[in-house]
């Protein structure tokens, strides 16, 4: 059985890591989690980003966060990616599978997945 005492081990392990990480996230992934987003499938999309960013070893530079209604409910699930010095990228109609590609190609590779962006859908 797991016990709360195990958190002590996590705490010790994390100490150095947290110090390293402070303020170092250069990229921010924001997932819309209002009624519209949740109903359209934002929860698995968020989980895919949380898992994928960790798996690819990007947790030091990418922060995954949530927000309310972004205002384009018909395109949910919507994911915005902010990066210092660059234009915001808005991905629409996201799925966990698409999230995986955004992680490897955009967050890791630095190349926007144009076909998933709002510009590609709104045409």
């Amino acid at each position: 059985m797991k016990s709360l005492a195990e958190l002590q081990a996590i705490k010790d392990k994390m100490k150095d890591k947290v110090v390293l990480r402070e303020g170092s996230a250069q990229k921010r992934v924001v997932v819309g989690m209002a009624t519209c987003g949740i109903a359209a499938g934002a929860r698995p999309v968020l989980n895919a980003f949380v898992e994928g960013v960790n798996k690819e070893g990007l947790s030091g530079e990418v922060a995954v966060t949530q927000t309310g209604c972004i205002g384009i409910c018909q395109y949910e699930p919507v994911v915005e990616i902010f990066e210092a010095g660059k234009d915001k990228v808005t991905y629409v109609k996201m799925t966990a599978e698409k999230a995986q590609r955004v992680i490897t190609e955009h967050l890791k590779g630095g190349k926007v997945v144009t076909e998933y962006t709002i510009a590609a859908y709104a045409k």
Binding site: M1, I10, K11, M33, I38, R43, P44, N47, V64
Partner: protein, 183 residues
């Protein structure tokens, strides 16, 4: 919504938005009935606003303060022959005892009952998105009980480590899943 756990996520997001230090998510199951309670100590609402949040026609496209989340949840409960109640005490009227409580019951054997779904994922999403808010989760079934209190986790971790850290979220996931397996 495809799962009631998504409604729980949606409604608990309102609690966080109401700046609730603590949001309680209490699920109680008997053989036939599922009861979902979401209780927060956030800023609450005046009785006038409470009346509006259950009516989608009052709320859409006026202010963006409230939306379809509550009407959906109410409909999903009532379509199983269940009930829905909401009560709230606003911080302006009750500065020492404010917050909102929602209680819905569902008849599990009704054809229109939407399954609860992945409630663990909902709890993890709430903690990941709002690591500074506290959540108390309890799911009681005829077989046993699953529970989690982020205040205990926070105390164990001490300050300085966010509950949104991947390692912490992963631990909470395993902690909950293990409880579901043994209950």
């Amino acid at each position: 919504m495809k799962e009631l756990s998504l409604n729980i996520l949606d409604i608990a997001e309102n609690s966080v938005k109401a700046k609730a230090p603590l949001t309680q998510i209490i699920l109680t199951e008997t053989e036939d009935v599922l009861t979902i309670e979401i209780i927060d100590n956030g800023c609450g609402m005046t009785s006038d606003i409470v009346k509006r949040v259950i009516d989608p026609f009052y709320t859409t496209r006026t202010t963006r303060k409230v939306g379809l989340g509550i009407p959906f949840f109410k409909m999903e409960a009532e379509q199983t022959g269940g009930t829905f109640e909401i009560s709230s005490r606003s911080v302006t009227e009750y500065p020492d005892d404010h917050g909102t409580a929602i209680k819905a019951t569902f008849h599990k054997d009704h054809i229109d009952f939407i399954p609860l779904g992945d409630v663990v994922s909902t709890i993890l999403t709430l903690i990941q998105g709002h690591p500074d808010s506290d959540f108390l989760f309890r799911h009681t079934t005829p077989k046993g009980e699953v529970s989690l209190d982020t205040r205990e986790i926070r105390e164990e971790l001490g300050g300085g480590i966010s509950l949104a850290e991947y390692e912490v979220i992963k631990w909470i996931e395993e902690y909950l899943k293990e409880q579901y397996q043994t209950n």
